[in-house]
């Protein structure tokens, strides 16, 4: 077996993930390399979910009975855990949403309805990048259409990095918000936060960082990032589906208007007018995803028990190994940085003329789960003149043997369509 420095004890870790024992297609062991789409869920999280429903389930905040108090404590306890996980200055800066997409839309909508100095309107500009996930493109297109603001973006270099050469023309005093991905889900690129934040601060623009592909894979420190908002999603970090996070600076959350209206987010309601609860509740209308937040808290505990730095080191070693092996596959072209430096553990590639759908299908027949398509980042495919890519993406339970299986599988694909 391949031994790389810095790897985790995956044999032990894999025992935590029941699904990794699954056998597909008459006896093929699952090789799950679709972690950028969603991660698998450890027993530790599933147990907490079951325990929640079997012991404590109740609606939160409004009850004086034992179950309601327990549920509230668990739910708010999860907020504490997430706040600590991202080093938030205050737990009240952590808003639970249903996924990262809602988090991103929430910011776009707050800014559309905000008063000065935050308000996005026809005199202002919004800046994103060409490597964003659709969930960080479409909300801004909608906001631009609805307010008349101008949408601008950073292009990409040939090797899959942000082209910041014209940063001063792109981020200008008219810019109200700069929203960009920390780690690209299609290219794997880790973006240079500091340079962008510095320029944004210079012109007084807010910064939103889409950390959906970062939070699961590396230690995240919202204070070090110096952003104003950070969004991520639970199902990519060992948590359940149905839960996302938006972190925002306390002062901003106080100033900005609510988004969804309803139960929980109010202070007092009459038919004529309402006042709103302080953040985070102001932004959490209705019964929140209680069990899912609690599950995310358990996921955070789980990740901490392994150690985020160790997870990052593991993935770095694996990515380095994978790049090295993939580059030897004939006709394989990596889309994105071709080294393991400043990149995450998602590797996109094309394989000669063979369409990614066919690559994915034939890999699947061997039990290897990869994602194919534009990965909700179609502008990247347009930029590189390709219809789609095949993407392999790793996580803490991925092994060199799985990289080997992928490479063997690709060999088989080439023979099949050759």
């Amino acid at each position: 077996m391949t031994q790389l420095p810095g790897l985790l004890d995956t044999e032990a870790i894999r025992k935590d993930f029941p699904i990794l024992d699954r056998v597909l297609h008459d006896g093929k062991k699952l090789v799950y390399l679709d972690n950028a789409a969603t991660s698998q869920t450890p027993r530790q999280v599933l147990d907490v979910l079951s325990e929640y429903y079997e012991q404590h389930n109740a609606n939160v905040h409004r009850g004086v009975h034992v179950l309601a108090e327990e549920a509230t404590e668990l739910y708010e306890g999860a907020r504490d855990k997430v706040a600590a996980f991202i080093n938030a200055p205050s737990r009240d800066e952590v808003i639970f949403t249903k996924n990262a997409s809602e988090s991103l839309n929430l910011v776009a909508n707050m800014l559309g309805w905000a008063d000065e100095p935050y308000r996005v309107d026809s005199d202002t500009e919004i800046v994103i990048t060409e490597m964003e996930h659709h969930s960080n493109i479409v909300p801004w297109q909608l906001l631009a259409q609805r307010t008349g603001a101008k949408l601008k973006w950073f292009g990409l270099t040939d090797d899959g990095r942000l082209d910041l050469s014209r940063i001063d023309e792109i981020i200008t005093p008219k810019t109200k918000i700069v929203s960009f991905v920390l780690v690209s889900n299609i290219l794997g690129t880790l973006n240079p936060v500091e340079e962008i934040v510095r320029r944004a601060q210079e012109v007084g623009a807010l910064v939103l960082i889409d950390a959906s592909q970062a939070a699961p894979h590396m230690a995240l420190d919202v204070q070090a990032l110096q952003a104003d908002f950070v969004a991520f999603t639970g199902h990519k970090m060992c948590g359940p589906t149905g839960i996302g996070v938006l972190w925002g600076r306390a002062g901003l959350l106080e100033d900005l208007p609510p988004f969804l209206g309803g139960g929980e987010m109010i202070e007092t309601v009459s038919m004529h007018s309402s006042t709103y609860a302080p953040a985070p509740h102001k932004f959490e209308a209705g019964t929140p995803p209680i069990a899912q937040a609690v599950g995310l808290g358990a996921a955070v505990d789980y990740l901490n028990s392994i150690g985020m730095d160790k997870i990052a080191a593991h993935e770095h070693a694996l990515t380095e190994y994978a790049i090295q092996r993939l580059q030897k596959v004939p006709d394989l072209r990596i889309i994105g940085p071709a080294t393991a430096e400043d990149r995450g553990a998602a590797i996109s590639f094309t394989l000669g003329d063979i369409h990614p759908h066919d690559v994915g299908q034939v890999l699947d027949e061997q039990g290897i789960a990869v994602r194919v398509g534009h990965h909700c980042a179609r502008p990247v495919c347009l930029r590189y003149g390709i219809p789609a890519t095949t993407r392999a993406s790793f996580y803490l339970y991925s092994t060199p043997a799985e990289v080997d299986a992928l490479v063997d599988g690709l060999e088989h694909v080439r023979n099949f369509f050759g």
């Binding site: 369409h355 990614p356 759908h357 066919d358 299908q361 034939v362 194919v372 398509g373 534009h374 179609r378 495919c381 219809p387 789609a388 099949f416 369509f417």
Partner: protein
Amino acid sequence: MYQDVILDHYKHPHGRGLRDGDAEVHHVNPTCGDEITLRVKYDGTRIADVSYEGQGCSISQASASVLNDLLVGKDLDEARKIQGTFLELMQSKGRIEPDDAMEDLLEDAVAFAGVSKYPARVKCALLSWMAWKDATAQALGEEKTA
């Protein structure tokens, strides 16, 4: 799902290329980026030609090639029957085992029966057929029915 017939059509597509036509449509499968540009040429109600350019997976490309084989030269009624039967087969989730009559009608297209078990790929197989339907409606000035 990758029958030899399908791989053959994929590697050696029939009737590929854009030629003169009465109507042209461009269809895209947004989930995978499969694309086809397709033209139909009618001679009354007889299909004089179906020409196409596209990029995409083996299933979508082979399916366009099979379509060209099957429909060119046919009368519209017959073509519609073929299209309807192929659609039915593809939506069967693997539950239809093509019988002799179906094989006679669909010829090489019965090879796609296995694809119907893969929901994500059914759209690929249907891409050119939907494009043909649209282009025909346009060419014959009918209301769009897709």
